[in-house]
């Protein structure tokens, strides 16, 4: 056994040496100096549902830009890493982008937790970061987030839009059910915080795990509280289960609202008909066909939709749109001020009327997100597809 071990050991050692040498090898130098943009997304791991379309979109857009001649003749070099939905790895990747790849601006990460874990790194190194995650904590307090921006709408925007819609329908008593991960708990905080301000009463506050196999217990408890509507806040399989169980329990008389995380037609398919009548706030990027021709975003959204669906043959999710916005902003900044992190930061902070996939952004020194609740439209599932809810 030992002799066998040694033989293999030699080859293992050799392999590792090779890997080491390979990673040490200097990068090829091109004659024209390309502009680099760093990107880090959760392509694998728990948040891959976000990271996958973000990666695809970023790579697609980068290709398009280079096909059109790059940024003022400079080739756009997208340095993209996968953080595997892991905070420690995310931090290492971002450090790598800054220290080794020396990028002047970074887009991503996909999740709020990973973004929070790298804020310190970007701040210390003074490199601007355009996050694709939604938590409001990413950009507040703005005095401590000098280098941090985000393009995903805040959960508060989505919550405000939902409450406004429910009030219009005369609903004042709501039950909330949230998944106990970063996405759900951020939504829960906002749902509870905003409710008293607008005159909504939260009569039930249920939580569940991201891998739970059944949500009947939570819904049954909600049923006992006399809530008029239930708002579910999760991504992944649990948001399908919530709808399925709601239907199975015969609770369809209670208005069901999903978070903006429901924004994928795949979810309607997965729910297998149970999603009929479910409301949710959607970014316009998900509903290009429903937009009136006068909508300022219609043109960019149509173009992105056609390109993405033509290439990947899958329906669009809002997350890919965040990557589009982040990269487009970074590219515009590079075109305007060149690869200087400080100048890019200043440019981003003062960018107004940027028409992107997630909305029309107006950044300012007091607001590093630049969106409002109007970036969402309330829609309802009707005949297996989205329809505007009136």
């Amino acid at each position: 056994m030992r002799r066998f071990g040694k033989g293999w050991g030699g080859s293992v050692t050799l392999t590792f040496c090779l890997i080491l040498v390979w990673s040490l090898a200097p990068k090829a130098v091109t004659a024209k100096e390309p502009y680099k943009v760093g990107a880090v997304f959760a392509v694998t791991g728990g948040a891959s549902i976000l990271g996958e379309p973000e990666k695809r979109t970023a790579e697609m857009l980068a290709e398009e830009i280079n096909k059109k001649g790059g940024i003022d003749g400079h080739k756009l070099e997208l340095v993209l890493y996968d953080d595997e939905s892991d905070e420690t790895k995310c931090r290492t990747r971002v450090t790598r982008l800054i220290k080794t790849d020396k990028v002047p601006v970074i887009i991503g990460p996909s999740t709020s937790g990973n973004t929070m874990a790298v804020i310190a790194v970007c701040d210390e190194s003074k490199v601007p970061l355009i996050s694709c995650a939604s938590s409001i904590k990413i950009v507040t307090p703005v005095s401590e987030r000098k280098w941090i921006f985000k393009v995903a709408p805040s959960d508060s925007h989505s919550v405000e839009r939902i409450y406004e819609f429910l009030l219009k329908k005369g609903i004042k008593k709501v039950a909330i059910m949230t998944v106990s991960d970063g996405y759900g708990s951020s939504g829960r905080e906002e749902l509870l915080r905003v409710a008293p301000n607008v005159g909504i009463e939260v009569v039930a506050d249920e939580r569940y795990g991201p891998k739970d196999t059944d949500l009947t217990a939570q819904l049954t408890r909600i049923r006992g509280t006399g809530a008029q509507a239930v708002i579910n806040w999760s991504v992944g399989p649990t948001q399908i289960l919530a709808v399925k169980n709601w239907k199975e329990l015969g609770m369809t008389a209670m208005t069901f609202v999903q978070s903006h995380g429901f924004a994928s037609k795949k979810n309607i398919e997965l729910a297998g008909g149970a999603a009929e009548g479910v409301f949710c706030p959607l970014g316009r990027v998900n509903i290009p066909d429903l937009l009136p021709a006068t909508d300022p975003q219609k043109k960019v959204i149509m173009a992105y939709n056609e390109a993405y669906q033509g290439r990947f043959k899958e329906p669009l999710s809002a997350f890919g749109g965040h990557a589009w916005d982040a990269l487009q902003l970074a590219v515009e900044a590079l075109a305007a001020v060149g690869p200087d992190p400080a100048k890019i930061r200043d440019y981003l902070e003062n960018r107004k009327n940027f028409v992107g996939q997630g909305g029309v952004f107006n950044f300012s020194p007091a607001d590093h997100c630049g969106l409002t609740k109007d970036s969402f439209e309330m829609v309802v599932v009707k005949n297996g597809t989205w329809a505007l809810a009136q």
């Binding site: 056994m1 890997i19 790895k89 290492t92 804020i119 970063g182």
Partner: protein, 328 residues
């Protein structure tokens, strides 16, 4: 300390000193210092685990919980109570020691798979508490704005200073652990590993020693957690889940659990593999990671240290006086 260990130790120290110089001069790896900080932090945990698994023969699939307890106690004390970070670190180790003792006494009466299940269950429960006590821990959204460490009024910012701090601690703990192994306690532990019944019959207080080493390994994990909290500045429950407990055990086993050097080697290798090198495989990395683990455990049950001939030779010579065991 034996001569073999002394030589290996000097070699490791030399490498550790040369490493920052290398990193500073080779641009392609200039972020490796950051990875090495994590290797150091994880090494503190795996050395404790190596004592527990390799020497006392007890498995734990819940060490991420102790890592998390240290991290969260540090973080909460600093953020919510504004205690000084160093004091918070001590607080973390105290809390962890008490919890580890409470869990260790009943758990370590169990054997094999039951012990694995008990520690695993404990780890998952602690993780749920991190998730649910939103007021205290920030829940899944995490605890942010944890202050950095200061030494003599000098803030420890950037990788290099942290690298020096973490690895000094690792070396101190390593020397301490090497001494533990070669002391009366170490001999008692090995006797438990070989045969608990025999050890008991010989008058070794097996239960006491097992709990002692369990608490020690938990305290080391807690220390690592505190360092992690102050280095990253942000904590969320997902960093302390079951998967991480399993990764820690993997590091110890891949390196070779009958040797502290093995724990260090395994931690270094798996952290670099997971955080850096497997990256080139893109989506395939999970497969490659699994395959490497499988390969090492099957082909080299004694861990990687058994294939570095010089190192293992020295190590064996060092252990000869105690009648150390070789490969199968």
């Amino acid at each position: 300390m034996s001569r073999g260990n002394l030589i290996t130790l000097s070699a490791v120290v030399l490498l550790l000193i040369l490493f920052p110089v290398l990193v500073a001069n080779v641009e392609a790896i200039s972020h490796y210092l950051d990875v090495m900080v994590f290797v150091g932090i994880f090494s503190l945990i795996t050395m404790g685990l190596s004592l527990l698994m390799g020497y006392a023969g007890q498995i734990s699939l819940g060490h991420a919980a102790f890592f998390g307890l240290g991290a969260y106690t540090s973080g909460i004390l600093c953020v919510k109570v504004a205690v000084s970070p160093w004091l918070a670190m001590v607080g973390g180790t105290l809390v962890t020691a008490v919890v580890a003792y409470g869990v260790g006494v009943p758990s370590l009466k169990l054997k094999g798979h039951y012990l694995a299940m008990a520690t695993l269950g404990f780890g998952v429960i602690v993780n749920i508490v991190f998730n649910e006590e939103v007021e205290l821990t920030g829940g899944p959204s995490g605890l942010s704005n944890i202050p950095g460490l200061k030494l003599f009024g000098l803030p420890l910012r950037g990788e290099l200073l942290f690298y020096i701090l973490v690895w000094s601690m690792v070396l101190l703990v390593l020397i301490f652990c090497l001494n533990v192994i070669h002391s009366r306690v170490g001999r008692a532990l090995r006797s438990i590993h070989d045969s608990e019944v025999a050890a008991d019959a010989m008058g070794v207080e097996t239960a006491r020693y097992k709990v002692m080493i369990f608490v020690l390994s938990a305290v080391l994990a807690s220390l690592a957690g505190s360092l992690y909290a102050h280095y990253v500045g942000f904590l969320s429950p997902s960093s302390f889940n079951l998967l991480f407990s399993i990764r820690l055990v993997m590091m110890v086993v891949v390196g070779g659990m009958h040797s502290l050097w093995g724990a260090l080697l395994g931690t270094w290798l798996l952290t670099f593999l997971g955080n850096e090198w497997l990256h080139v495989f893109k989506d395939f990395d999970i497969l490659v990671y699994g395959a490497i683990l499988l390969f090492v455990v099957m082909a080299l049950p004694e861990g990687l240290v058994s294939v570095v001939p010089r190192l293992s030779h020295m190590w064996r010579r060092g252990r000869e006086s105690e009648g150390g065991t070789g490969g199968t």
